[in-house]
Amino acid sequence: MIKNRQLQFSLAINEALDLMMAKDKRVFVIGQGVKSPWYVGNTTRGLLRKYGEQRIIDTPVSENAITGCGVGAAIAGMRPVIVHPRVDFLMYGLDPIINQAANWNYMFGGNAPVPVVFWLIVNRGGEQAAQHSQAMHALFSHIPGLKVVMPSNPYDAKGLLISAIEDNNPVVYIDDRWLYNTSCFVPEGIYRVPIGRAVVRRKGKAITIVALSYMVKEALIAAETLRTKGIDAEIIDLRSAKPLDKITIFNSVRKTGRFIVIDNGWLTCGLSAEISALISEKLFKFLKSPVQRIALPDLPAPASRTLEKVYYPDASLIAKRVIQILRKEK
């Protein structure tokens, strides 16, 4: 056992897949590009050689059938991980996720579990424009019967994927290519990060910043800027978009009385709207200032680098908005 072993985000995913495939013969990976680093980075490195083409299945471009195929295999007792290397290309595969996997257990009065993981990779920036950039976690979070997880670091990437594979329900696991090169301590062996539990990444008293996935990284940078200005921000990493960990969020907001949510999905009807509504409903009397949100503007992703720069929120925008909130109170 190497103490304090550092591992890259994408290799943490690789390790989770490897461990779970070794442990459980029902686990297999299916999707476009699982044998190609173009699609999935090095997340499936070495797995084809180790587990063979029966369990690492590269597929033709048939998102609808392949997604349904994974759902069907889960219904028949397997534990598939279906990968879509770009969320955008998954749209043809929505029906088996939303109509079938999500509804199945309830629709049949229980005892009809669908233990499937939909692993969706967000791959944006680089002037790739509107059909190569979408995140869509709000869409999936809207659907009863689905769980939605979004890791922000390698430790959670591995632990959440293991939890997702072990879960008896359909789990949408969304990761962001912008995090693939980040590293942190990742224990060897199997461990779990619980689904539906957020974590306080940084303790503070002045304001609660709620973020998930890549935006946690930006929020942590913003917190450092704010610290130099004497503002002590608390940062919550949601880890799961559904179920939401209301307790962790509420405890923090009760303490700080101020709240901003940072989302890398669109603003309208997005995750930020849901969390803001919850806080307004439950914690109105604790609030010292109105809830605030930062999210993608309600626009398709533009190609041009000048527009991308203002389209994607970053640490400086987060810091600026927090300072504004505190200034308004004075």
């Binding site: 476009q32 590009g33 044998k35 190609s36 173009w38 699609y39 590269d58 033709p60 471009v61 048939s62 998102e63 609808n64 059938a65 955008d88 290309f89 749209m91 043809y92 680089g126 002037e127 790739q128 424009a129 509107a130 059909q131 190569h132 503007p297 309600d298 626009l299 398709p300 533009p302 190609a303 041009s304 680098r305 000048t306 527009l307 720069k309 203002v310 389209y311």
Partner: protein, 327 residues
């Protein structure tokens, strides 16, 4: 094989093919230098399909493209400067810098749009053909897609509906043997994609896509079928992309992307559509070597000027991020 094609038309075809080739190759430098950032899917090697099919069409006919559509856009008569500027993501581009290489459109010549979701525009072409029929227009619609799209269910749904309603649509499958990283034999059992149209009673052909004369001939047949109300038609063109899936990386076996055997690439280089037509022109004395050189210099100049135009254009202003969401 080209007895009924005039000298003038032969030279026009060559100029068109060459223009696409030069244009595609001209992007490689700026991509490697990082000046062009958006994903660029070069159609080098597939030019004869675009030029042959679009030469059978009228200006008012419609086409829809995919991720690899520079050739379709140019062959249909799309504005060169605006396309190059779009690849640079500039305001003067055909999508005003919002789309990049994968989103080309020039409605003035019937190029209704390209988009990279695999098979994503096939049903849109179907809809355009329905509109043409409802409006009793004499237009034909072409849907360009690759062999990878033959894995998508929507293609089969579109084939059925088009046949059912006898729509004036030509399904053009450019089979370049690779679906991104996957050789076609790993994607399907039968390599004959054109046969998928048969159960729908759609007239269908498999054609040498690197032979401009054969492409043109079959495209004309398909167009006249559609005009007679006997559409749809399906054309599978066997061709080869001389570069890799995206950008200048050639995906040669043994290199980082490790996909295509070098021997295979060499074999197809001998069937390069530019080379084939050039040899034909010279060996049949359609044009002299010196005049050909002059023609090539003219095309080269045109492409260079398009890059100058693009580089002189500004990026979209960040203040205009919100523009164009709604009409």
């Amino acid at each position: 094989m080209s007895k009924n094609i005039s000298k003038q038309e032969l030279l026009r075809l060559y100029r068109q093919i060459l223009r696409i080739r030069f244009c595609e190759e001209s992007f490689i430098g700026p991509i490697l230098q990082g000046i062009i950032k958006c994903p660029v899917h070069l159609c080098t090697g597939q030019e004869a399909v675009a030029v042959g099919v679009c030469s059978a069409l009228q200006r008012e006919d419609y086409i829809f493209g995919n991720h690899r559509s520079h050739g379709h856009y140019l062959a249909k008569g799309g504005d060169l400067n605006k396309m190059v500027a779009e690849v640079y993501c500039r305001l003067s581009g055909c999508a005003k810098g919002r789309g990049g290489s994968m989103h080309l459109r020039d409605v003035s010549v019937g190029m209704l749009g390209s988009a990279p979701i695999v098979a994503g525009t096939i049903s849109l072409a179907l809809g355009a053909a329905l509109a043409v029929k409802v409006k009793r227009e004499n237009k034909v619609v072409v849907s360009f897609f690759g062999d990878g799209a033959a894995g998508e269910g929507v293609l089969y749904e579109a084939l059925n509906f088009a046949a059912l309603k006898k729509l004036p649509i030509i399904f053009v499958c450019e089979n370049n043997l690779y679906s991104t990283h996957m050789p076609i034999k790993e994607c399907r059992v039968s390599k004959n994609i054109f046969e998928i149209a048969k159960p729908f009673s759609i007239k269908t052909w498999q054609v040498d896509g690197n032979n401009i004369f054969k492409v043109l001939e079959k495209a004309k047949t398909a167009v006249s079928l559609c005009h007679r109300g006997e559409g749809p038609a399906f054309l599978e063109f066997l061709t080869y992309r001389l570069h890799g899936h995206v950008g200048p990386d050639d995906n040669v076996q043994g290199t980082h992307t490790d996909i295509r055997p070098l021997e295979e690439i060499k074999r197809w280089l001998k069937k390069d559509p530019v080379l084939l037509l050039k040899n034909y022109l010279l060996s049949n004395n359609v044009i002299s070597k010196s005049k050909l050189k002059f023609l090539e210099m003219g095309v080269d100049r045109e492409i260079k000027n398009a890059h100058k135009f693009a580089l002189a254009s500004s990026f979209p202003d960040k203040k205009e991020l919100n523009k164009y969401l709604y009409d």
